[in-house]
């Protein structure tokens, strides 16, 4: 009986170990790594905002295609894959488009380095318990505002075509939503 119990215990441990290894990139049994597209807010997830079509997914040097030379900055910091998706607002945001760009930089260190790259954006640090990510910053202009943050291996940029304080709250809402999905 004891032998059977030991055998079952070992079997269970092995099964759990293999299950952990089968998660995407196989970095360890405890770690779950999601593709950038899995982090995007889905339809109905954030009230008043609807995804426009399907997400664009870009891998490796294909990043040059959507953002041309800007890709160099991401590639320099270990870029692996990205997902871009636009959201159309409704109601008071009916004429406003919000865009989300999520970049998987391969490691938390690379994502942090990208965030600190002098050619990346600047902005005002967004801190406090409500802030998204490991580090975050906001930029607010007359016609648009944005949030950038990094967390784990992800670098996230949320941008909206409106520059008022309400718009800033919307991009923060999206940023928090994405951040909460990062394991």
């Amino acid at each position: 009986m004891q032998t059977v119990s030991k055998f079952l215990s070992c079997f269970l441990v092995i099964v759990l170990f293999l299950a952990g290894c089968s998660k995407d990139k196989g970095t360890g049994p405890e770690e779950t790594i999601l593709d950038p597209v899995d982090l995007l807010p889905t339809s109905g997830e954030i009230s008043g905002w609807t995804p426009q079509g399907a997400a664009e997914e870009w891998v490796g040097e294909a990043l040059y295609q959507p953002i041309d030379g800007d890709a160099e900055t991401y590639l320099r910091h270990g870029f692996e894959e990205a997902a871009f998706l636009d959201y159309q607002g409704s109601g008071s945001w009916a004429n406003t488009v919000l865009s989300v760009r999520i970049f998987d930089q391969g490691s938390a260190e690379q994502a942090a380095d990208l965030y600190d790259d002098p050619t990346s954006g600047t902005g005002t640090p967004w801190t406090g318990s409500e802030a998204a990510g490991t580090e975050a910053r906001t930029e607010q202009y007359a016609l648009s505002c944005s949030v950038e943050f990094h967390e784990a291996e992800y670098f996230v940029h949320v941008d909206i075509g409106s520059g008022d304080d309400q718009a800033l709250e919307v991009v923060k809402l999206f940023a928090r939503n994405i951040s909460q999905k990062i394991p």
């Binding site: 030379g69 930029e139 202009y141 007359a142 941008d159």
Partner: protein
Amino acid sequence: MTSSRPESREIDRRDFLRRAAMGTAGLALTSTLTGLPGGPVRAGDDLSRVVIVTDQAASSGITIEPDVAAVMMNRGVMELTGRDSAGQAWKSLFPGITSGSRIGIKVNCINRYLSSHPEIAQTIVDGLATMEVDRAPFPRNNIIVWDRHNYELTRAGYSIYYGSDPDTHRCFGTDLSGYSYDQDLPITIQGQIMYPSVLLTQHCDYLINLSVMKNHTMSGVTGSLKNHYGSIHLPSALHGASGQYCDPFIPDLNRKLNDQLGMIQAVNICDAIFGIASGGPMGNPQFAFNGLLFSRDPVALDYQETQILVDQGCGTATIATHIDTAAWPPYQLGTNDPMNMDVRYITDPSTGAADDDREPSRPADYRLELAYPNPFNAHTVIPYVIGGRSSVSMRVDIYNVRGQRVRALYRGRREPGRYRVVWDGRDDRGALLASGIYLCRLSAAGHEDVVKLSLIK
């Protein structure tokens, strides 16, 4: 239209006054984009004219007002060419044009949120259609608005059309079936073989370069010179190593498009209705400048665009070294020296308001603002404000901590407004100064202001 790297340059008082009387804006003795002057002083008609038309009615929110934009477009071309009518002005840009000629309008659509706007391209098409060529209006179907990809054009709001209706202009990407990149006419850019769009090599006799005002993390700014990255098959190979900032790839590309393909770039127009000053080239527009810039000289145009971006807080202007390089041998694509530019400002052409009637929040004082970066190594940008209601004599100098003046950065007259000057850490003789603290002093109309600069090598 060429510049060279000068050994030294002196401006006498008579020449200075003559230029001031000509209304030359942006006068600077030593301040260019990166502190390196772009050529010998030129005179009279040899100056590179840049026309900057602004109209606060050009946009409402993020929507462009097409009627206002049309007035701005025609007014700008008339000022650029010195012609009294839009039709004559446009026609003068295309020497030898016939009713069978084809005119391309190269737009920049990679950022769907801030592309060369379809409304602005349309004003160009409408303007070209006012030309009388061979005793008839120029056929719209002979005009092709183009960029790399159909999907980029579509996303930016353009309608793809490749039919033959004589009253409809064509619009499509190089990737349209039957078109592509010209493998018979390769050009080599810094060792990289590039195939140019067949639209450039086979389907356009003249080109209008319609860029859009944005900063760029890899090249400092994007403008008319960089717009040609959309004219070749593999622009990703032309960004260079880290710290190279697309320099000299951009000047080399433009030089070879001119020399090897015989590109006739009739005019450069920058769509500056909106702009991105930080984090570009992607993202939503950040501010409304409500302007259009015109020049036959792409270097001068990009220089002036950069000035506008710096005024809007752009922090990447100092890496836009390709603009300076483009002015020097072996490229010599234009001038980066404001002394060699004839800059003309037109405000609110749709309302007819004269410049003097406007009170565009004129600054009330004379001051230096925070330099950036500071501390600095290669260059620092020093913004400053000239207040009052009329132009004043002013100067900006650099002093060491012993009070000795080591560099004259600017001496001349300035209208009230916001400006900036760049210091490259060198003295008047061009020698690099030692690390340490330096003082920048502004003197204008009896006012003085000083900021501290930290040079670190």
